[in-house]
């Protein structure tokens, strides 16, 4: 807490950021789809409803989630990804050069259709731009542009064309860069390029850095990447070379083990601090969330911390999501008050 006071003191002196702006709260990306939308997606696949009707319902669900985030008082919003299925497959369906596989199992009873690279990867039209614009039109708060990173897209696809992991990752990076630039042009203040696969093959962290460099090349707005699952101990501190302003990490699921790493080697970027376990139905207590944030504040300067759940929340129920996020926002509010009083 000593450091906390000092940080707060520094902040007051600098007057660059008021306490109310510290620890901005946000989400990682996905929210659960309402039942009517799940049904509509199934109906669309079975050709019982039109694409237009499906889109109307996707918009309705997006609107609902934007409203929920506003009500909860989150600082930086997401569109909730109502129009996406799997995070890699969605982009593969929109880029050319892909086809989509039959069902493969991920774990338990979860299956997904995996992208297959069958030709040169191209972007024939903007993919997420329309949804970014739509969500941003509903709120005064910033909405993040959300993309899946080139390394992860490559790692999660079958490759029948390039025959080289590097070549396919770099081809993907080129098209993702085009999409990111379009989002920037449309006014996105934050562009998040998710790379959950980055921590899986430590020997390829160099390739992940190279590909993300291409994907973020020329961007002036704040860039961030989300990473989850894996052996962070093997890629830290090398992962700090990922060319983004902020790295968003799943922290709760691993009992905050990573803070020990950051004590040895300072975390030099902004951090998106995962404070909610997205795999658990259990709603965290406010005290748990506060203690997680404070533990991070002991090793990372407070002005570099953004607060969010560990990962996308689409596997939780709407009630769980709302309850978890409410606790998170409340915890941040109380810490801000404590900082104000020091």
């Amino acid at each position: 807490m000593e450091q906390l006071k000092q940080e707060a003191g520094n902040k007051k002196q600098e007057k660059t950021k008021s306490v109310s702006q510290l620890l901005p709260t946000t989400s990682v990306g996905s929210f659960p789809k309402p039942d009517y939308l799940k049904k509509a997606r199934a109906d669309f696949r079975a050709k019982r409803i039109s694409a237009r009707r499906l889109e109307e319902l996707e918009q309705k669900a997006t609107r609902e989630w934007v409203e929920i985030q506003e009500e909860l008082g989150l600082d930086i919003l997401v569109d909730g990804e109502m129009y996406r299925g799997d995070m890699a497959t969605y982009f593969a369906e929109e880029f050319s050069g892909f086809k989509i596989s039959g069902l493969v199992r991920s774990y338990g009873n979860r299956y997904y259709r995996k992208p297959i690279i069958v030709g040169k990867i191209r972007r024939t039209k903007p993919v997420t731009l329309k949804w970014y614009r739509f969500a941003q039109s509903l709120t005064q708060k910033p909405v993040k542009g959300m993309l899946t990173g080139p390394y992860t897209m490559m790692d999660w696809s079958f490759d029948e064309y390039y025959g080289s992991r590097r070549e396919s990752a770099l081809a993907l990076a080129e098209v993702i860069n085009k999409e990111a630039k379009d989002l920037e042009k449309a006014g996105a203040q934050y562009i998040q390029i998710d790379e959950p696969a980055v921590s899986v093959r430590p020997e390829e962290i160099g390739l992940a850095i190279e590909a993300l460099g291409v994907a973020t090349s020329g961007l002036k707005v704040k860039t961030l990447t989300h990473i989850c699952y894996g052996r962070f101990d093997l890629i830290y501190p090398r992962m700090l070379k990922l060319p983004v302003d902020q790295i968003d990490l799943e922290m709760s699921n691993s009992g905050y083990d990573m803070l020990a790493l950051f004590q040895k080697q300072p975390f030099t970027k902004e951090i998106g601090l995962g404070v909610l376990d997205v795999h658990s139905h259990k709603v965290e207590t406010k005290e748990t969330v506060k203690s997680r944030i404070k533990a991070a504040m002991d090793v990372i300067p407070v002005e570099k911390i953004y607060v969010d759940p560990d990962c996308g929340l689409k596997t939780r129920t709407r009630e769980e999501v709302v309850a978890k996020l409410r606790v998170m926002v409340q915890a941040v509010k109380e810490i801000r008050e404590e900082l104000n009083n020091v």
Partner: protein, 351 residues
Amino acid sequence: MVQVTVVGSYPRIGDRPGEQKHRKAIDQLDKEKISWNQFEKIQDEVTKEVILEQIKLGVDLPSDGQIRWGDGISYIMRGLKGCTINGLVRYFDTNTYYRQPIIHEKLSYENPILVRDFESAQKVAGKTPVKVILTGPYTLAHLSKDEWYQDGRKLVWELAGYLNQEILALAQSGVKFIEIDEPAILSNPEDLSLWAKGIEMVAHGLSGVTVSLHLGYGNISGSWNELLQLPVDELALDLTAGHSNVSLLHRKKVTKKICAGVVDARNTLMEKETVLAKHIKNLQETLGENLAALSPNYGLEFLPRDAARKKLKLLTAAAGKINKDRKGTHHDNRTRGTTEAGSRKQEAGKN
């Protein structure tokens, strides 16, 4: 005879009508719309379907597809007392996950884990022998969270002792072919001697059973000498074209039977028949009669079911060609049934 086999899993659902049964059943079980007994019945049905499908595609030595296994780790560990099954952890460098067992007290082995599965699978397969898959002690220890032993060696040896009991129980129930999966060892070469002792303990006292050891997620360059010393009959290796294991085998003296994983179960790209044939021919020239079987390099569950079927068809076509050629050149060996593969057939006949 070069046989065709699988190494472990088979896709439990597919995109054709009627192939979604397993997924729907779990969903209904979760919603309490069907009972556990009804669910088990469906698992039996799906197991039967995938065994018969493998046989129909020309697989000589099918597995039960590991339909009941949520993953390679928790299914075995659930059968032991002393651990609980916890959250999801990524399975090596794949985009799949396993549930991590947490060992919170001294483990104990009370009842056979896989005997019932084997007996029902073998009944379905009739005269075709079914290979039982068993995850090895090192991998189970390495991928579990140990809160009790606090000593990796002790845990491996204890698990090896239980797996030995399991393997003896399996042998007693009539199992003739066992595949031990040790996916964790190649990426942890510092533990080779511990691991080797674990395998020795598992296989201790076993007779009349052919044991194959499946390795993946790494290459065998650092462990080749140890591998040759192990008390197993066969090594099942990733030998897809271009894998560093292939050039190593071409350089070394091979004194064990090899199950060659020549088609890639982690990519939908179909191997070209002519290229595959040439690749296998090269392997055969190096390995001779030690080329005992052809298989995919990993469990087929990484592939959509249609792609898995196509890969198996490629394998059976390639094996058919080799066996035709061998028939011409090794007529005596085959008819006397003195090769490993020959005696396998005989054992299968006895079943």
